[in-house]
């Protein structure tokens, strides 16, 4: 194995939410970086700062002055990042000879293995790993998601998002010395043929990544499995029960682990979808906070979304190339729930304009929502002590309904449900258009 010094050309993500100034500044302190004008740069080269001037930032200058200096040229420069990549001797040259065609947009050495969904750049597998992990690292650093010594529970369902999250976090934690204690936290809803299989995957992940696993089950927490709930209430509103119970189960599991934070695998597509759904539902209060990277800071355990700017397609590709062990079957009780209109719409948008997903998130962040928008006042549930804006938390209300046979208790207006008779579930009926991701995957 020999080491080659490779140039990494990184197209500057000027419109990227990873803010350029902080990103450049922090990287400049750690790595050798310099810049070259883009082909589209309308400025004469004399108007641009010299390479030396830009690549030698005043180390003591931690103010915005230097980053502002860089920012004014941002649209016209490409960052060239010098870093060392290990590869087989001669691999690069053989690849270019063999391919005879296009080379990776970033390293210009190897043949491209994929078109990056976010930027449409054709890049090789190795460079994809680097940019994918580096972006997540930047999100973590720029948003100060973690502090050294914190205990972090990774919500793990065994699906691709949570598997990639657990893998990448454990890698970054080691590489960048975050100093975190990572744990896997799974919820066993008690869905035969679905959760039992996916939990097996999480158990394998526990060994593969060396992360301790904690499983909390609905049966232990609430005395009911989802199979039992569905046998009583049918296939209507079952996702409401599952969603409410799981939210609380995750918090309870995290508390058992004495975790400081809970991280979930919500990706950019999920957040963009939530922004749209909140607009369609007229829910301004949720719209104002659905793009927060950390939520629940007033609750028992804050939740973080390190994949806030990571595209679902890139997570899929990463999991595929890295041959990660994940489980990919839809929930038995919520098949095809992905095909909501909003989800389809986002996929169509992405096809035409890949940037649209990030644009929706940015819109969500920039909406001028009045600070006087009324938020529910948080208290605690009289029965179980969980955070609640009402006398009893939603889970206790639903549980009471189940235990007393009052199946509609706590089920408010359900989409489209009024059209059908209660007690006669119609699994074949047209699903409501406005819906979220299925409960089986939403929180993980």
């Amino acid at each position: 194995m020999k080491f080659h010094k490779t140039l990494h050309y990184e197209a500057l993500p000027f419109e990227n939410p990873l803010s350029l100034d902080r990103r450049c500044y922090q990287n400049l302190a750690q790595e050798t970086r310099f810049f070259q004008p883009r082909a589209s740069c309308p400025l004469p080269s004399s108007a641009l700062p010299t390479r030396e001037a830009i690549s030698s930032p005043p180390r003591e200058d931690t103010s915005d002055h230097w980053s502002g200096h860089l920012h004014q040229y941002a649209a016209h420069l490409t960052i060239i990042n010098c870093c060392t990549i290990s590869m087989e001797e001669g691999e690069g040259s053989t690849a270019s000879k063999r391919g005879g065609g296009r080379l990776c947009f970033i390293c210009n050495q190897r043949r491209p293995a994929l078109k990056r969904p976010k930027t449409q750049e054709q890049i090789c597998r190795e460079c994809f790993y680097v940019v994918f992990e580096e972006e997540i690292h930047r999100v973590i650093m720029d948003n100060h998601l973690f502090k050294p010594g914190e205990r972090i529970a990774v919500a793990a369902s065994g699906g691709k998002d949570s598997t990639v999250l657990a893998y990448v976090l454990s890698e970054l934690n080691r590489r960048h010395s975050y100093g975190l204690d990572l744990f896997l936290l799974s919820v066993d809803e008690g869905i035969t043929g679905y959760r039992d299989d996916s939990l097996e995957t999480v158990k394998r992940n526990e060994i593969q990544y060396g992360l301790p696993l904690k499983v909390v089950s609905y049966k232990d927490l609430y005395g009911w499995t989802m199979d039992e709930i569905v046998s009583v209430i049918g296939l209507k509103n079952n996702c409401t029960f599952c969603g409410v119970f799981r939210r609380q189960a995750l918090d309870r599991g995290a508390a058992l682990l004495k975790a400081d934070k809970l991280v979930t695998g919500h990706n950019a597509d999920d957040i963009a979808e939530t922004v749209l759904l909140n607009i369609l539902r007229g829910d301004i209060a949720r719209l104002s906070r659905c793009t927060f990277i950390v939520t629940g800071e007033d609750g028992p355990i804050p939740r973080c979304k390190p994949f806030k700017y990571t595209y679902e397609k890139e997570i899929n590709k990463y999991a595929y190339f890295k041959k990660l062990d994940y489980f990919s079957t839809e929930c038995t009780y919520s098949p095809n729930a992905y095909r909501g209109f909003a989800r389809e719409f986002i996929k169509d948008l992405e096809r035409i304009r890949p940037q649209a997903i990030l644009d929706i998130i940015r819109s969500g962040e920039d909406f001028r929502i009045s600070t006087t928008t009324r938020m529910p006042e948080q208290g605690t549930c009289e029965r179980c002590g969980y955070i609640s804006s009402q006398k009893l938390c939603k889970a206790c209300v639903l549980l009471e309904g189940l235990n007393r046979g009052l199946l509609k208790l706590g089920i408010s207006r359900a989409n489209g449900s009024r059209r059908h008779d209660v007690g006669h579930p119609k699994p074949e009926a047209k699903r409501p258009i406005i819906q979220n991701k299925p409960c089986g995957t939403l929180d993980f």
Partner: protein
């Protein structure tokens, strides 16, 4: 509008609003759409017919080709327009750009004919489309600017009295009252705008009130200072009615900059970009820095040569909107001073 304009009582139940005169303006976009000349003239004839049926209270029908936005002679204007559109590769960018030119043409008609307001027929369905479209283009910050009943960003204020009526209702009204309508030039569904249209149509099928819900969500966003008439404008109205029109708070600060192409207020991060480009020597660079992200992405060409050509062809009313460097410096300084000012809200104790 015709009925309401005839009597004081109809114009305002409080009798506070005077009778107003009005005209009809039509922007002829046949240069953009490759339609046979007889089709274009038929459309114009039809519109003339519809307007003439409205009666004698009507002042005038103004028909102006869209190229009048360029303030050059028509042939020059046509060439400019064609070259500009050829340089926009994004389908939605092209459509949006034509919409901005349309507004410039309407403003020109209004100024030339001494009208004091421009009234648009944008309804709830159009607004819902605009909201989703702006959201997916990353224009969340500027979104409330285009949704209010009043918009005084332009020289002649723009009003949207039909904002709360949906297209189906308006269609029914036309049918019941025997009002004739006609199909004018329209873009084939393409790009982001086309996708949004089909999405909105599907939502409407699913729930007829969905469009209204979308508009209601956006209504809750904070409007800008230019979304109201100047202070004192409504003083002649009874105080109980006045409150309805002045819902935009006076203390709402002026947006720092408006994009010279689309007129959107720039968000904090965009404004930061303007500040950082303040020292750039080139006029073009300066112009580009003041354009919003969306226009930068979907309208401005990426190649340097094409960008220069594009800039040289833009109507002066767009390029003139660029704020001077002194002004940016002043705003910046003002912003820094404001950080250290003590406001009334701060408790002195």
């Amino acid at each position: 509008m015709h009925c309401k304009s005839l009597k004081n009582w109809d114009a305002s139940k409080s009798q506070g609003l005077p009778v107003f005169g009005f005209g009809v303006a039509f922007v002829d976009e046949s240069t953009i759409f490759p339609t046979p000349s007889n089709v274009a003239s038929n459309i114009i004839e039809e519109i003339s017919g519809i307007v003439s049926e409205l009666g004698h209270a009507l002042q005038e029908l103004h028909i102006a080709p869209i190229e009048t936005a360029f303030c050059k002679d028509l042939v020059d204007g046509q060439n400019c327009l064609r070259q500009l559109l050829d340089n926009i590769t994004d389908a939605s960018g092209k459509e949006d750009f034509v919409q901005y030119l349309r507004m410039l043409s309407l403003q020109k008609i209004a100024v030339d004919n001494k009208y004091t307001k421009v009234v648009l027929g944008s309804c709830t369905s159009k607004m819902a489309h605009q909201i989703i479209s702006a959201t997916v283009k990353g224009q969340g910050f500027a979104l409330p600017a285009d949704l209010q009943y009043v918009d005084t960003r332009q020289e002649i204020p723009v009003l949207l009295p039909l904002r709360d009526c949906n297209a189906q209702e308006l269609g029914k009204l036309c049918f019941l009252d025997g009002l004739k309508t006609t199909q004018v030039f329209s873009w084939p569904p393409a790009g982001i705008n086309g996708l949004v249209s089909s999405f909105i149509a599907r939502l409407q099928d699913e729930n007829p009130s969905r469009q209204r819900t979308i508009v209601r969500t956006a209504e809750k966003l904070k409007p800008f200072s230019f979304n109201k008439f100047t202070e004192g404008y409504y003083d002649f109205l009874p105080s109980i009615v006045r409150a309805k029109f002045q819902h935009v708070k006076h203390e709402e600060p002026e947006p720092k900059f408006l994009c010279p192409i689309c007129g959107s207020p720039l968000s904090e991060s965009e404004w930061k970009n303007v500040k950082n480009n303040n020292k750039c020597p080139s006029e073009l660079e300066f112009f580009v820095s003041q354009c919003c992200r969306s226009c930068n992405f979907q309208i401005l060409p990426k190649e340097k040569g094409k960008l220069e050509l594009f800039y040289s062809l833009l109507p002066s009313s767009m390029t003139d909107r660029v704020e001077g460097k002194d002004c940016i410096g002043r705003r910046w300084l003002q912003e820094q001073i404001e950080e250290f000012l003590i406001t009334d809200d701060i408790d002195e104790t």
